[in-house]
C-alpha cells in the first residue's frame, strides 16, 4: 500500500534562516510517528508545510497523492494546533457543530464527539470559561471529525492530566487501527515511547535520527544501566566482584556497553544467593534524544 504522507528533500528557509533542511519522511497508513525536537527544531514548521499553511522553499510533499493545501489534501488531513484556541463567545457544542459542517458532516454528531473526549458536561458552556485542558479536548474532538487519513497533532497532550493522556492515546490507537496515519510532536518523551511505532528526531531543521525505539537504541549504542540489590551484608562482596559499581541507597549501580550486557549479567548470576534483585535499564528515550540531538550539534 502506498504511504499516506510522503516528504522528500524538504527545505524551508525564512530569509537567511534555514528552518528545515533536506527532510525526507514517509508515513504509512495506520502508522504512528512521533516528531521530537527542541523548541525551534522545525517541528511546527514541518507540520504547517504538510497542512499547506506555508509553502516549502524546495522539495516535495504529497498527502494521499494530493498537494498540501489542496481541497483533497485538506479533506484527508485533521489538525490539532499547539495550544488549540477557539472563539471564547461560542460554546463547545456550537464550535464542534460548525467544524462538522465545514467537513460536510452532520452537526448532530457533535455531542457524540464531545462525549468521546469527556466534555459532554461542559458542552453548552462558553469556551471562554474552559480551562486549558478543556480547550485541548475541544481541539481533539474536532480532529476526530470524519475519517481523516492523516492526523497532524502538535503537542496534543499538553495541558492534559495523566488519565486523559491515556484516554487520548487509546483514541489514537483506535484511529490507527482503522488505517489512519498519525504524526504527532511531543515533549513528553515517556508517553511517546510506549505509544508510537516510529520516532523522528529533528535538530536545527535536520532529521538526525529516524526509526523504531529498538532500532534507535541499537544505533546509539548507549551503555545499559544495571541495578543490583544485595542480600543483607553482601554488598561489599558484590562490589568487589563488579568493578566500577557504586553503592546508592543499598543498591549497586553499574553501567556497561550494549555488547557486554550478557557477559555482565552472567557474572552477576554467578554471584548466586548474594544477589536479592536485579534490574536492567535500557537507555531511555530521553538518553537517546539527548545523544542524537547533541550529535547533530557538534
Amino acid at each position: 500500500m502506498t504511504s499516506t504522507l510522503t516528504i522528500s528533500e524538504l527545505t524551508k528557509r525564512f530569509g537567511e534562516v534555514a528552518a528545515l533542511t533536506g527532510v525526507s519522511l514517509s508515513v504509512a497508513p495506520g502508522e504512528r510517528v512521533a516528531l521530537l525536537g527542541h523548541n525551534g527544531a522545525g517541528k511546527s514548521t514541518l507540520m504547517k508545510i504538510i497542512l499547506g499553511l506555508i509553502p516549502a522553499t524546495s522539495g516535495a510533499v504529497t498527502i494521499c497523492d494530493a498537494a498540501p493545501g489542496s481541497p483533497a489534501a485538506r479533506r484527508a488531513v485533521a489538525y490539532l494546533p499547539e495550544n488549540a484556541a477557539f472563539h471564547p463567545a461560542l460554546t463547545g457544542l456550537e464550535e464542534i457543530r460548525h467544524y462538522l459542517a465545514l467537513r460536510g458532516e452532520s452537526p448532530a454528531l457533535a455531542m457524540g464527539l464531545l462525549e468521546k473526549v469527556g466534555l459532554a458536561q461542559a458542552a453548552r458552556r462558553r469556551i471562554g470559561t474552559y480551562s486549558k485542558g478543556m480547550r485541548q479536548r475541544v481541539g481533539l474532538a474536532q480532529a476526530l471529525i470524519g475519517h481523516p487519513r492523516l492526523l497532524v497533532l502538535d503537542e496534543p497532550t499538553s495541558g492534559l492530566d495523566p488519565v486523559s493522556r491515556r484516554e487520548f492515546y487509546a483514541l489514537l490507537d483506535a484511529l490507527a487501527a482503522q488505517g489512519a496515519s498519525i504524526l504527532l510532536s511531543s515533549h513528553a518523551l515517556t508517553e511517546v515511547e510506549a505509544r508510537t511505532d516510529r520516532i523522528v528526531i529533528l535538530s536545527k531543521g535536520r532529521m538526525v535520527a529516524e526509526g523504531s525505539l529498538p532500532e534507535l537504541r541499537r544505533r546509539a549504542d548507549l551503555p545499559v544501566a544495571l541495578h543490583v540489590t544485595a542480600r543483607n551484608g553482601y554488598a561489599p562482596d558484590i562490589a568487589k566482584a563488579l568493578p566500577g559499581a557504586i553503592l546508592v541507597d543499598g543498591a549497586l549501580h553499574l553501567t556497561c556497553p550494549q555488547a557486554e550486557k550478557l557477559q555482565t549479567l552472567g557474572r552477576i548470576a554467578g554471584l548466586g544467593d548474594k544477589v536479592a534483585d536485579l534490574e536492567v535499564l535500557p537507555p531511555s528515550l530521553e538518553d537517546l534524544y539527548a545523544h542524537f540531538s547533541q550529535g547533530a550539534a557538534q
Binding site: G52, A85, F86, L102
Partner: protein, 273 residues
C-alpha cells in the same frame, strides 16, 4: 454552500453575544427616530412630502453611521482570528478563503440590514403618523435602504482588507477609524477647500465630479439625493448632485461593494498563518 452558511451562522452568533447586533440596532433606531421627529419640521416651504425630506436627512445619517458600523464589525474579522490563534486550524479545514470571507460578510450584512430596516421602518412609521401623504416618499426610502446595505458591504469589504493587512486587531481598529475619518469626514472637507481655492476653474468642472464618484460614501449620498430630487434639502458637497448624471453615481454604488470585496479577498490571500 453549507460551509458558507455555517460560517455565517457562527459569525452572527458571535456578533449577537458581543452585543454588535444590539449596538447596531439601537444606534440606527435611535438616530433615525430623532431625525424623523425633528428633521421633518421645516417641510412646509419646500412643497415636498415629509418622508422625502426625512430621507434626505437619513441619507446624511447613513453616510456617517453605516460605514462606521461596518468597519467596527469587520476590523476584527481576520486580525482577531490571527491573534486568537484560530486561523491556522480554520485554514487547515476544507474551506476556501473566499468562502470564509463570504460567510463573515453574510452575517455582518444581515446585521446591517436588520439595523437599516429597523431605523428606516421607525422613521417611516413616525412620518406616516404625522403626514398621510408621505407615501410619495416611499420609493426614495426603499432606494436609500438598499443603497445603504450596498454601502455597508463596501465598508465591510474594506474592513476585511484592513484586518488582513494588519496583524493585530488594535492595528486594524486604528486603520479602520483612519479610513472612516478619511473617506467620510476629511475627504469632503478637502474637496470643499479645493473648490474654494479653485474658484470655479478646471478642478471644479473636471476633477471634482470624478473625486465624488471615486469615494463610495460620496457616491452613495450623490445617488440618493439625485434620484429623489432632494438636492434642495441637502447642503455641502451633496449640493453638487445636479451636476453628475444619475447612472454614474448608481454605477459607483453598485461597483464599489465588489471592488472592496475583491480587495479583501486579495489581502486575505496574502495572510500566512
Amino acid at each position: 454552500m453549507i460551509r458558507i452558511l455555517s460560517t455565517a451562522r457562527t459569525e452572527f452568533r458571535i456578533a449577537l453575544r458581543n452585543r454588535w447586533v444590539a449596538i447596531a440596532l439601537v444606534l440606527m433606531g435611535v438616530f433615525s427616530l430623532v431625525l424623523a421627529l425633528a428633521g421633518s419640521a421645516p417641510t412646509g416651504g419646500l412643497g415636498v412630502d415629509r418622508l422625502s425630506v426625512t430621507v434626505a436627512s437619513l441619507t446624511s445619517l447613513s453616510v456617517y453611521l453605516i460605514p462606521l458600523l461596518a468597519l467596527l464589525m469587520s476590523f476584527d474579522a481576520i486580525a482577531g482570528e490571527t491573534e486568537r490563534g484560530t486561523l491556522p486550524l480554520l485554514l487547515a479545514y476544507p474551506i476556501a478563503r473566499w468562502e470564509i470571507l463570504l460567510g463573515k460578510l453574510l452575517a455582518h450584512l444581515a446585521i446591517l440590514t436588520l439595523a437599516v430596516l429597523l431605523g428606516h421602518g421607525l422613521a417611516a412609521a413616525v412620518t406616516f403618523w404625522s403626514d398621510p401623504t408621505a407615501v410619495k416618499g416611499l420609493p426614495a426610502l426603499w432606494r436609500l435602504s438598499w443603497s445603504s446595505i450596498l454601502l455597508g458591504a463596501t465598508f465591510l469589504g474594506a474592513g476585511y482588507a484592513l484586518s488582513s493587512l494588519s496583524r493585530r486587531p488594535s492595528g486594524a481598529a486604528g486603520l479602520a477609524i483612519g479610513l472612516w475619518l478619511g473617506l467620510v469626514v476629511l475627504y469632503d472637507l478637502a474637496l470643499l477647500s479645493a473648490i474654494v481655492a479653485d474658484n470655479g476653474g478646471w478642478f471644479t468642472t473636471d476633477v471634482f465630479p470624478i473625486t465624488l464618484l471615486a469615494n463610495p460614501a460620496d457616491a452613495f449620498r450623490l445617488f440618493n439625493l439625485t434620484a429623489s430630487g432632494a438636492t434642495a434639502a441637502a447642503a455641502g458637497v451633496g449640493g453638487a448632485a445636479d451636476a453628475i448624471p444619475l447612472w454614474q453615481s448608481l454605477a459607483s454604488v453598485l461597483v464599489w461593494p465588489f471592488a472592496a470585496l475583491a480587495l479583501a479577498a486579495a489581502a486575505f490571500r496574502k495572510v500566512t498563518p
